[in-house]
């Protein structure tokens, strides 16, 4: 009978384990490789030159002279952090931003900034407070022939029309033109989603609606790889997350495990001690009787 | 020679029914308790209409569980006090037949109380509870309580602490019944689509069958001289 029980338990264990193992094999789908650090995680951009260091993720696309860099900075103010980041990256002084706004995304409030720097450099920066630091994701484009900017907008009512109107409005703000007659072209499907494409004179605008937010990319001058740039920046943005710090909860949980196991084992010892005490008393009584 | 199963069940059931018709002890106590419980709940919760709709299925099932605890305890205690248990054990009948007989009696009495509560709560709470699906849920749920309760009451009535032990033994085991039945009832009363409350109702039926089968198999071990 004991054999049977043992066999049943073993069979059950075996069934469970095979289940877990097969699942583990199924579960390992190809997943975008991630740049991982204590401070943040972002997807590694395939096809881009990886210049990342210990505490920052940096990817460079030579043909577009574009750089996407993610890091955290010690400045407390997101705008100050963004400008310090730009100063560090380009050694150019940041003028007042050509576009500045704030969006509430699922992980917090991001500042959205676009700067037109000297030497035909355009910088789009998103920054938000993350714990005691500021996370900064910057997109820098140095191509003298083109001006490329990317930004994120939050739209309130969730309709595509409002989203595209906002995109066009944002594009006009960025391009510093009067209300434009952008024409909608066919949309393109990229890894980050389905983007709407608008074309105007010397200008291409792309927009992506993702959840409650819309993402806009704009390129002026020589038209080139806007789709690749917009896609890469948005994959970084959408894939960005900070590993939560919950070591205290882990410590608490482990403490609970040890307390309960300790209580279980301790109760065995405690009852054993009581038992020995009783036996000693009984033995003494028996001896006294004799 | 053992008495045939069905005959034996019928004999025990008719004994219980006749005793109840004469004394009206079980149903009246359970019904009075239920009425008081429903009133107490409505005072304690001071419900407006919206809250009543939310709470009514919970009140219904909690009341039914406590009423049935009362009934099962009393019904087994009677058997014991009158020495019926011992004589049934001496008689050449299968234990399962005794179980089914007692179970049907407990089921019928509790169901009567439940069916009385429905129009009562309809009046007091201003919600229409007289719905075919609610009654079906009630039949299945009460059958589940009764199948567990009959077995556990047989156990606890043979201990010294008797009445005190049945709630401790029964409440955790009937919680799955309570949860599924209350969810199904709530879904039916709120007019939710059938798909939403058929899940809990089906689960209620499944647990009911599992426990009934187990109790039938195990009953012989709780009735020992």
């Amino acid at each position: 009978m004991l054999m049977k029980t043992a066999i049943t338990v073993l069979a059950l264990a075996f069934a469970l384990l095979t289940n877990v193992v097969t699942l583990a094999q199924d579960g390992e789908e190809p997943r975008a490789p991630y740049f991982q650090s204590r401070a943040f995680n972002v997807p590694i951009l395939a096809g881009w030159d990886d210049q990342s260091g210990e505490s920052f993720a940096q990817f460079h696309l030579a043909e577009a002279q574009a750089t996407i860099r993610t890091t955290t900075r010690a400045e407390r103010d997101p705008i100050a952090a963004a400008e310090a980041e730009l100063a560090m990256l380009t050694s150019l002084r940041a003028p007042p931003p050509s576009y500045s706004g704030k969006v509430n995304l699922a992980d917090g409030t991001w500042h959205v900034l676009v700067y037109d720097l000297e030497e035909e450099t355009t910088a789009s920066v998103m920054a938000r407070v993350a714990a005691d630091r500021v996370a900064v994701i910057s997109f820098i484009e140095r191509d003298p022939a083109a001006r490329t900017a990317v930004l994120t907008l939050a739209r309130s009512d969730g309709s595509h029309e409002v989203a595209s109107r906002e995109m066009i409005f944002a594009a006009d703000t960025l391009a510093a033109t009067a209300p434009s007659d952008l024409l909608q072209e066919e949309s393109v499907t990229l890894p980050s989603g389905e983007w709407a494409v608008y074309a105007g004179e010397g200008m291409t605008v792309m927009g992506l609606v993702f959840g409650n937010d819309s993402y806009v990319a704009l390129q002026q001058g020589e038209q080139g790889d806007l789709a690749a740039l917009a896609d890469a920046y948005n994959r970084t943005l959408l894939g960005f997350f900070i590993t939560p710090d919950n070591r205290h909860y882990l410590a608490l949980a482990l403490a609970v495990v040890f307390v309960i196991l300790g209580a279980l084992v301790g109760s065995l010892f405690w009852r054993e001690r009581g038992l020995r005490k009783d036996l000693t008393v009984l033995e003494e009584l028996a001896r006294a009787e004799e | 020679m053992k008495t045939p199963f069905v005959k034996c069940v019928a004999a025990i059931l008719s004994k219980d029914l006749r005793a109840e018709i004469r004394a009206r002890e079980l149903v009246s106590v359970m019904a009075l308790f239920s009425l008081l419980s429903v009133l107490v709940f409505s005072f304690a919760l001071e419900l407006d209409r919206g809250a009543r709709e939310e709470a009514v299925s919970g009140v219904l099932w909690v009341t039914l569980i406590f009423a049935s605890l009362l009934g099962f305890n009393r019904s087994m205690a009677q058997e014991r006090e009158q020495g019926n248990l011992d004589s049934m054990l001496l008689a050449p009948v299968s234990r399962a037949a005794i179980y089914v007989g007692k179970l049907l009696g407990n089921f019928i009495f509790t169901l009567i109380v439940g069916l009385v509560m429905l129009p009562l709560m309809t009046v007091l709470y201003g919600l229409d509870l007289l719905d075919g699906w609610v009654i079906l849920t009630m039949v299945v749920g009460i059958f589940g309580f009764a199948s567990i309760g009959t077995l556990l009451a047989t156990m606890t009535v043979q201990t010294r602490a008797r009445e005190a032990l049945l709630p401790i033994a029964m409440l955790p085991i009937v919680l799955p019944f309570l949860l599924t039945a209350a969810r199904a009832t709530k879904g039916i009363l709120s007019g939710a689509p059938a798909a939403e409350w058929q899940g809990p109702l089906g689960m209620l039926g499944a647990i009911c069958v599992i426990y009934l089968a187990l109790c039938l198999l195990l009953y012989e071990y709780v009735l020992e001289e």
């Binding site: 877990v20 070591r247 482990l254 065995l268 033995e283 | 955790p172």
Partner: protein, 250 residues
């Protein structure tokens, strides 16, 4: 006098009967194994970048449920064997199974709650699986209370065997409820997670390397070793009880 002490049955000697070598070995292996699974889970397995460090508690959370499953399963086996053979040793196993299983399921419940706080942003939610796990704990707590309330030893053993078998239904409900009521938000590691699951993570090779030894340990060695010790203690306690009764009746 010395002869009399020697003639006492082992359970009644103060130091107790000598531990079988198998039990000593089992105890050492279990303790070392527990330490090893901690090293694997807390050290060697990588950090889950989505959930952070708290994900490591999973290497105890899920195995502890299966430890409880084994312990409660032994209670069922002990109960069935007791009802069939009427030998007290099976009842001792059943009782030990409940005590150990209850401790393990408490570990399961509490580690789950502590995990849920940072991941679901709440300590507790009335999710089907959480609810049924709580019912399971309550049922076995009721087992211990009920057991203490029955005086007659023979009846206690028979009744508690029955109750131990009935109570196992709550374990099975907890195990299978994800498949019965798929609206749970509890992630499922074995099989595809339900649509609404929140806080699931990929069973990558690192996870499996840390999980499988832990699962094996909690499924077999942990409950069996502690139950064995508990059964031996119960033997001694019953022997002492009989001795006391005897002394009183003399």
């Amino acid at each position: 006098m010395a002869d009399k002490a020697k003639s006492l049955p082992g359970e009644l000697r103060i130091e107790g009967p000598p531990q079988p070598r198998a039990l000593r070995l089992l105890t050492v292996v279990t303790v070392l194994g527990f330490a090893a699974t901690l090293v694997l889970g807390l050290g060697l397995a990588g950090v889950d970048i989505q959930q952070g460090e708290i994900q490591r508690i999973f290497y105890i959370h899920m195995p502890s449920f299966f430890g409880a499953f084994t312990a409660f399963g032994l209670t069922v086996a002990g109960g069935l064997l007791y009802l069939a053979r009427k030998s007290e040793k099976w009842d001792r196993i059943a009782l030990a199974g409940v005590e150990v299983g209850l401790a393990f399921s408490l570990i399961n419940l509490l580690t789950g709650a502590i995990w849920a706080r940072p991941i679901w942003n709440t300590w507790w939610t009335w999710d089907p699986r959480l609810t049924s796990a709580a019912i399971m704990c309550l049922t076995y707590a009721a087992y211990l209370m009920l057991r203490a309330g029955i005086e007659d030893a023979g009846r206690r053993r028979a009744f508690m065997s029955v109750y131990g078998i009935l109570a196992f239904v709550t374990v099975l409900i907890t195990l299978f409820i994800i498949r019965i009521v798929p609206e749970t938000i509890h992630p499922m590691i074995v099989g595809a997670s339900p649509q609404k699951a929140q806080g699931s993570f990929e069973a990558t090779s690192g996870v499996v390397i840390a999980l499988i030894p832990s699962l094996l340990l909690w499924l077999t060695l942990m409950p069996i070793t502690i139950i064995w010790h508990r059964v031996r203690l119960e033997e001694r306690m019953e022997a002492l009880h009989r001795l006391k009764m005897q002394a009183l009746s003399e």
